[in-house]
Point group: C2
Chain length 303, copies 2
């Protein structure tokens, strides 16, 4: 599981402070999460292969999370893309894109689908045999949800030596990796644990931006490998959080602690601050394992 | 007259190849011309003061000329701008902006006006005592016009020594600078030429992007100080110009020559080319005074 931060700043985009966008690589998928202005330039810089993006998840329709979307799709058209693309986001995202493409006389060279949400309940957006993506209802000034990306169980790792010693034919290996015991011709059973090792643990990633401090999300994100939680302000400006429906670094850490997450990644910093280390310091008074997002930064989660 | 190129590349935006946008400073005004994705970042980089932009001119609704507009206006809102703003552009530009602002729940903190054009004739868009701005009908895949910025006559320069020698009171100076002769109390007349020098010549700037080779524009732009004319391709790809309704460097130079312009600035380069000097070389086979646009480049025209 690899997370590339393309941008992690709030409000107005700047050369060295890009608005929200990130790419999550999970079990062969490359998911784009949010798409502020300039995302396609940041994608090129981070060498994200455009054609590998087949699903784009938009949390809400504030400009710093979505104003790069039509440009990116427009570029896909210009490049003659053929790979289907699905955009998930709040109601309105479809018209936002299609209206602008229509005005510019553009036509898509690939199947472009939209799945709009209005539901304030966790909703399954995407699922295959390897993972699932579900909305996380958040609370912000406009309809907003985050996303929970969850791996399904990985195969167990084959103990090849043990299998060979027992004379097991390779044609059974796939089934054994799925956790099945081996039934021999004489009816005797070799327990799976004797033929395999523990597989890769199931990783999960919760993206929660933008939102006020919202304890309701804790059961849903409980135990995730990594939580990206917005921390637009420090607690010195907690009153601004209430007004603008954002969170402080301390509040993000409270959520991380109560949900017992592996790593907390802070982002969506307000331009009022120059020293982001203060966000880490504030959060670490509550929760130890805190990382700071930064434009272009890559996080890898192997456990 | 000062022209700052914010971006001068066609199609998809890249870190080092920004889409079309430029700022023209003329007699105290700061006009923004076109607004591709990332324009607000380029404006910050070029230290363009946002509040000085009161008029934005959009040539057409292709993404590489307009996808940065809503983001810029949204930033104006976030910054609490109070200065009125007028956006001039083809029909549709108003809905493009207002629909997205509405979706994001944004409200303008300043008077925002739109003037949409559908006319295929030169149309006066803006005029004050110092200058005028008129559309230049172009021909592209969708409705497109360029813009002609024309200074009105400047004041003559006062010959202060001559005025003092004739004992003329300073209260007459303003009138003399406007070109009036001086009538003394005894009824005698001092011709204006004896009290003033030639003033600054009238400068003008024509922005022509995107368009096919179109001789119809020549009378309108005849004798302009500077002409920005698109040259998306070299003549080795003239057949692409016909198909996509763009121009070659040679065609741009033909227009410059026939319109007897001062300086031809080439821009809107296709990403198919790496060496832009070839555009200059091709154009100079027809017209000598050719400049190449480049992101961040500044042109000053004092004559």
């Amino acid at each position: 599981m690899k997370l590339t931060i393309l941008g992690c700043h709030s409000a107005t985009p700047k050369e060295n402070a890009r608005p929200t966008s990130q790419v999550l690589e999970m079990r062969g998928h490359l998911f784009l999460i949010d798409c502020g202005e300039g995302t396609q330039m940041a994608m090129r810089k981070a060498k994200v292969k455009f054609s590998r993006i087949k699903h784009i998840f938009i949390s809400h329709l504030h400009g710093d999370h979505v104003y790069g979307l039509v440009g990116l799709i427009s570029t896909f058209c210009l490049l003659g893309r053929e790979t289907p693309l699905t955009v998930y986001g709040p109601k309105g995202v479809k018209e936002l894109v299609l209206f602008q493409l229509k005005l510019s006389g553009a036509y898509t060279t690939f199947p472009l689908r939209f799945r709009e949400s209005v539901d304030n309940q966790p909703t399954l957006l995407f699922e295959d045999e390897l993972l699932s993506v579900t909305t996380i209802p958040l609370e912000h000034r406009i309809f907003t949800h985050g996303f929970l990306f969850q791996e399904k169980p990985h195969d167990r790792k084959l103990d090849v030596v043990a299998c060979q010693e027992r004379g097991i034919d390779v044609s059974y290996y796939k089934k054994i990796k799925k956790g099945h015991d081996m039934v021999l011709e004489d009816g005797s059973v070799i327990p799976n644990e004797e033929l395999t090792f523990e597989g890769q643990s199931q990783r999960s990633y919760a993206f929660c931006s933008d939102t006020i401090y919202k304890e309701d999300i804790i059961p849903q994100i409980n135990g995730v490998t990594a939580l990206y939680h917005e921390s637009t302000f420090l607690k010195d400006r907690e009153e601004l959080c209430e007004k603008t429906k954002h969170s402080t670094a301390e509040q993000a850490a409270q959520i991380a602690k109560k949900a017992d997450v592996g790593t907390l990644i802070l982002g969506h910093f307000s331009s009022r601050y120059n020293n982001y280390d203060l966000f880490k310091e504030e959060a670490q008074t509550v929760f130890e394992n805190v990382e700071l997002a930064a434009d272009g930064k890559v996080f890898e989660f192997n456990k």
